[in-house]
Symmetry: C2
Subunit: 529 residues, 2 copies
Amino acid sequence: MHFLSLSRSECDDTVTGSVSHSRFSTMEKNRLSTLVFIFSIIVVFYSPQPLAFKYAPRFLGKFAATSTKSQPPQFPYEIKYFQQRLDHFSFSELPTFPQRYLINTHHWLGPNRLGPIFFYCGNEGDIEWFAQNTGFLWEIAPQFGAMVVFPEHRYYGESVPYGSREDAYKNATTLSYLTAEQALADFSVLLTDLKQNFSAKDCPVVLFGGSYGGMLAAWMRLKYPHIAVGALASSAPILQFEDIVPPETFYDIVSNDFRRESSSCFSYIKQSWDEIESTGRTNIGLQLLTETFNLCQQLKRTQDLYDWLESAYSYLAMVNYPYPSEFLMALPGHPIKEVCRRIDGGPAGTSVLERIYEGVNVYYNYTGEAKCFELDDDPHGMSGWNWQACTEMVMPMSSSRESSMFPPYEYNYYSFQEECLKKFGVKPRPQWITTEFGGHNIHATLKKFGSNIIFSNGLLDPWSGGSVLQNISESVVSLVTEAGAHHIDLRASTQNDPGWLVEQRETEIKLIEGWISDYYLKNKAIFVM
Amino acid sequence: MHFLSLSRSECDDTVTGSVSHSRFSTMEKNRLSTLVFIFSIIVVFYSPQPLAFKYAPRFLGKFAATSTKSQPPQFPYEIKYFQQRLDHFSFSELPTFPQRYLINTHHWLGPNRLGPIFFYCGNEGDIEWFAQNTGFLWEIAPQFGAMVVFPEHRYYGESVPYGSREDAYKNATTLSYLTAEQALADFSVLLTDLKQNFSAKDCPVVLFGGSYGGMLAAWMRLKYPHIAVGALASSAPILQFEDIVPPETFYDIVSNDFRRESSSCFSYIKQSWDEIESTGRTNIGLQLLTETFNLCQQLKRTQDLYDWLESAYSYLAMVNYPYPSEFLMALPGHPIKEVCRRIDGGPAGTSVLERIYEGVNVYYNYTGEAKCFELDDDPHGMSGWNWQACTEMVMPMSSSRESSMFPPYEYNYYSFQEECLKKFGVKPRPQWITTEFGGHNIHATLKKFGSNIIFSNGLLDPWSGGSVLQNISESVVSLVTEAGAHHIDLRASTQNDPGWLVEQRETEIKLIEGWISDYYLKNKAIFVM
């Protein structure tokens, strides 16, 4: 559903138009435009001129919105707006802003029968795109008699303060209210208002979310237990902060995803960085790389190519689904298997770089329609997630020399801080998320505290390493699928769903039913499915 | 420990000097100066010219600080300062401010033995005064081997932003960060820092608080369970919001406290308002009231006398302790019994107003040293609690015509809002506290959520009606004492403590021991008392 961006391509998160320099076909553009890169990891890889910091841009926005709007929505809803305070935690005189939300009450049982409210915690992007890509929620709502609500996250899509994205993203002052806590308060205030308007004060709310949205869902259940009875937090790396998990976790999982398909594939990729590096030392070499990788523009520095390749590998690990999908890109089922088949499969004499090119073609050009590849047309654009990464969402990431197929890199907080100061004029608060939401010793903390949270994870997903992979208590549980990738459970069902996925969703439905029954029991109501 | 103010006398909450107009003796001034009026209820009583809104000023501050400083502290500590962000929930560029905290590590077991940290959630006043008046915490710390920390609440005492109280209290913009959520974040950030500095990351924190501080302790355990293992929330009316408890609750309890001593006493008080009202219609009548009540200044309107009397009754209900105390005023044990003895005891022919005067003398002048009484010298002064009451802490309070001995009054939110707009230029958010912290259906919500909270209450305390009076779960428990008043359990033990109080404190100690043992067990450490 929501994805990491390691590429340097930028496609921002609003719906205003922009000129694309890509030479892709229109169809390809539309595909590209649906890319949402949720987690913009800030990673620095070793290179002769080491970057202290690089932005991992995000894709959803002007093109994605066009994309969702150009097609009839698969799941219907009304679009509404709610005026939110910009700062819930002070009484400063600030302008309010319109929070967009999507709502469908078609199957709702209504207030008298205490019909549930299914509430998706919007992530960093256009909410319509999330709504269309969270089929699971829509599919199960009718059997629960549930109202469906998809609120947009502040500062994304149309839900921007100060009248326009341009003004909202102007500087650190205008951006300063783009935080997870404010977003959670938005959700709580909106839900309180909805409950009043629908006379639904006693109707149970179930939270859903994937990736960053999953983090929000879990945190909201912990911080606002009076507002929602439970949360399905899919692929939510709430432990990817400070020293809670080793910083190598993410890239080690990506690397293992490739190694398990083929150790030679892993080795070719691991070798490729030095080859790129040594080739790219001269202008002729850069020209050679430009040709080998069929780039639209002359390559200026190898780092850009690194970024482009690294992104492909990381995204492939996230969307390593068992069936063909068009979530980020049109891809075959088990796409890493296919990438490795092509990397390994070149005839004798095929160079490492040619093999790599064949491999990443699976990701960037599976349909074969791309004529050439753009690396990044706006590496310095302001992005909401980059702001969040530079303020609260400080996720240390390293790449191990031994176990990773990526160029080795050791995370350095101070370089990171320096770049955030330079870029946004803001100093990160790397300890704030764990101060506000916890994370250290989460098992001990939540064993007797909290209830009704599902942490679902697929072990192929590189984000799984930063999530909760063991049951914490009877009702704070972990659902782990070995062959799952990034929140596949939240996607619409398909005819090709493997048994384990069908089973995982059935378990989730049963757990949610349990929360609601339990709530009804407490409220002396009868649960009517 | 911390008390409601219904009087209109004002004594603000900073340590800077100010001229007192009182004609009291120095000793009396010192006594007055120790008054802390924690809950400033905004109550409007019926009167011929009804007040839509009146401030219930607070006493702690410049005099109290002088008072605590002039005496050698009973419980020793170091005074330290920690630079806090003014807004934890945004990245606005704002000045930091020094949060004062008191610390004592004398009995602490240290990090290796996982010595506990006892952390008092500072209320709206000078923290030194709270430290000196929370003897229970100091008395039990040695047996737990606990570090003791008393952080001051932002905007009170010395912990003011913008360099001075004057600048901090200038207007709605400077005051806008005076909120409970910011205060809780201060506590969490401070604790995180202290744990780091003392290598005490794994040391269990136990929260304590009384009155508003008790609300903060309970909310902090709910919102920051990763930071503290449990909370003793004494006399914490976390349900005194919106429609959770009937608005008449507070004054009904005060009234019952008088009626249970003597129904004639209750009736005299109930009659007195009309007598004051009819007498005060003329200037001669106002002069008569001035003389009858021995006021230092000519009474200008009967409402001021109402306020003064109502405050006395409400405070008496709160400090209706079973032994002589000097907490708010020098008072005998069971002070309401004594008040009623004097009201009832006048010889035949004694007027109602003369009886009332004799009665309230117990509260305002038990030592007999006051020459006359000041009603209010600064009814319009800015006070931190008034700001909080006008923003988040919107506690609806009415006085029932039937069951209350006070003048009947029906709470009107709109008049209240209007006055807050006029006074501070701020619009209250009456639903925010329950949106942020919950309150409705608290039993259902917390039954499977949350753990390790003691809600302790004495039923004589008028605030008990807004607190949690029944066990919610095995570890979210209610300790109710029939003969207890406002957080008597937090005060230092005395030789006159009745059996039920000794027992209550023993139960609290056992419960806290249980939380810590449980935590140690989980952390595989050995609990050494």
